[in-house]
């Protein structure tokens, strides 16, 4: 299987089929990244699409010597998330009522949705960097090396942040009376 870096090079050469392969490989990880960072699914969809659009427009700038491709894409994603949160901060209260409408009332789906909501709320209590590390690692399936490159930190620092995040998350979930 071709690496993402090789596919990026081919895309920069005008091969849109290669970009299709990148899209298929990163669609779920990126969507999950936004899903766990944002309250509204529609926002997660829009931002996912926007990241790919920006990625395609700037793929000629990607340098594989500087970072893994996945990390480069997630750096774009993170910048877009920060911009988005900044812009929507004022709208936050108004949107509160619309937040995460959830699935139709099927018992199982509802239960799963409740679990997700609880985890998302717990994640929101984490400091921003810890939250990013947890989401990238556990929901977007990135390695510590990739997370480090995406956040502009060393791998050791990411390890330490991850451990601190898990400890804090454990406290939060216990405080909220999480039951497995």
């Amino acid at each position: 299987m071709e690496s993402l870096e090789e596919l990026a090079r081919r895309t920069a050469d005008g091969d849109l089929e290669a970009f299709g392969a990148i899209y298929r490989a990163l669609l779920d990880p990126l969507y999950r990244y936004f899903f766990w960072n944002l309250a509204l699914r529609e926002e997660a969809e829009d931002l996912t699409e926007e990241v790919f659009t920006r990625c395609l427009a700037h793929i000629g700038d990607y340098d594989p010597r500087k970072a893994p491709f996945r990390a480069w894409v997630f750096r774009i994603a993170r910048n877009m998330l920060v911009d988005h949160l900044r812009k929507s901060a004022r709208r936050e209260r108004k949107d509160a009522a619309r937040r995460d409408p959830g699935q139709p009332p099927v018992a199982e789906a509802l239960e799963e949705e409740e679990r997700r909501r609880a985890v998302r709320e717990a994640l929101r209590e984490l400091p921003a960097t810890q939250r990013q590390v947890v989401i990238m690692k556990y929901f977007s399936g990135m390695s510590n090396v990739e997370v480090a490159a995406a956040l502009g930190k060393s791998e050791g620092a990411v390890n330490a942040i991850q451990h601190r995040a898990l400890r804090k998350l454990g406290d939060i979930l216990e405080r909220r009376g999480w039951r497995e």
Binding site: Y23, L27, D171
Partner: protein
């Protein structure tokens, strides 16, 4: 105390690993890529010509145009161009023929013209096949297949990048071309020499596969596609989503015979 903290962290990790993270929705999976490539294509056109400097493919085009112009100025080149026009894979002039084809793509003014030219080249490949099946010198079947695949793939990808309004008729033309070529390849396969059979089978599979994909994209179904009774409107028609309205049955060509909407009318010969 330390043990307890570790235990809590371990439980938190278990919870994170156990929670079901939803996959991307179907809308993104099916139509996201089309929207993105179309948007990127439009954006690159709007941002002006200097963007080519950041894209190797466009950069090559910028280099190719003056280079080709220079070559054409020399008398020998025009002779070479004429001589290579009927070259077949395996002959010394075939490389020049392909070079001139690619260079000509550098002179086109828009992605839709690129797509049209690539479709024309697909037809040229099939024409070459007629010559290759006649007895003669050794033929480079592998090269032929490579070029045919390249033309098919580029034509389809270029069409995908066009806005829906522009691409609809071109997709119809492409489907028509593919359909005829698949038919021709099937005929040829029946009486082909043993040595060329695997290549022709691959070519047929490639052509047929793309044809079916284009039909699905256009909302045509079945082997008869838009030529016969097998054609049916897609389930997405009238969904309200402009990205889903790529079907020829969507009303764009009402009253016009299907064939007249195709590429042969736009670019005869």
């Amino acid at each position: 105390m330390f043990e307890r903290t570790r235990e809590k962290a371990r439980r938190a990790e278990e919870i994170l690993r156990g929670i079901q993270s939803p996959p991307a929705p179907q809308n993104l999976r099916e139509f996201g890529l089309q929207r993105i490539t179309a948007r990127a294509s439009r954006a690159s056109g709007e941002k002006g010509e200097r963007r080519y400097l950041r894209h190797p493919a466009r950069m090559r085009r910028v280099v190719a145009v003056p280079l080709l112009a220079l070559l054409l100025l020399t008398g020998g080149t025009s002779g070479l161009y004429a001589a290579s026009a009927n070259a077949l894979p395996g002959s010394a002039l075939y490389g020049s023929k392909i070079f001139f084809e690619r260079a000509r793509l550098a002179f086109t003014a828009s992605p839709s013209s690129d797509a049209v030219l690539e479709m024309k080249y697909c037809e040229r490949r099939v024409e070459e096949l007629r010559g290759m099946l006649e007895p003669g010198d050794s033929r480079d079947w592998e090269r032929w297949l490579r070029e045919y695949r390249r033309n098919l793939s580029r034509a389809e990808l270029l069409l995908e990048t066009l806005p829906e309004s522009e691409s609809r008729d071109l997709f119809l033309g492409f489907e028509s071309t593919l359909s005829e070529q698949a038919e021709f390849l099937e005929e040829v396969l029946a009486g082909a020499p043993e040595a060329s059979r695997p290549i022709l089978e691959e070519a047929y599979a490639e052509c047929h596969g793309r044809m079916m994909r284009v039909r699905m994209r256009c909302g045509m179904e079945g082997e008869n596609g838009c030529h016969g009774e097998g054609r049916q409107p897609s389930g997405d028609e009238g969904s309200g989503d402009p990205q889903r309205q790529g079907s020829p049955g969507g009303g764009g060509g009402a009253g016009i015979p299907y064939r007249l909407q195709g590429i042969r009318v736009l670019f005869p010969g």
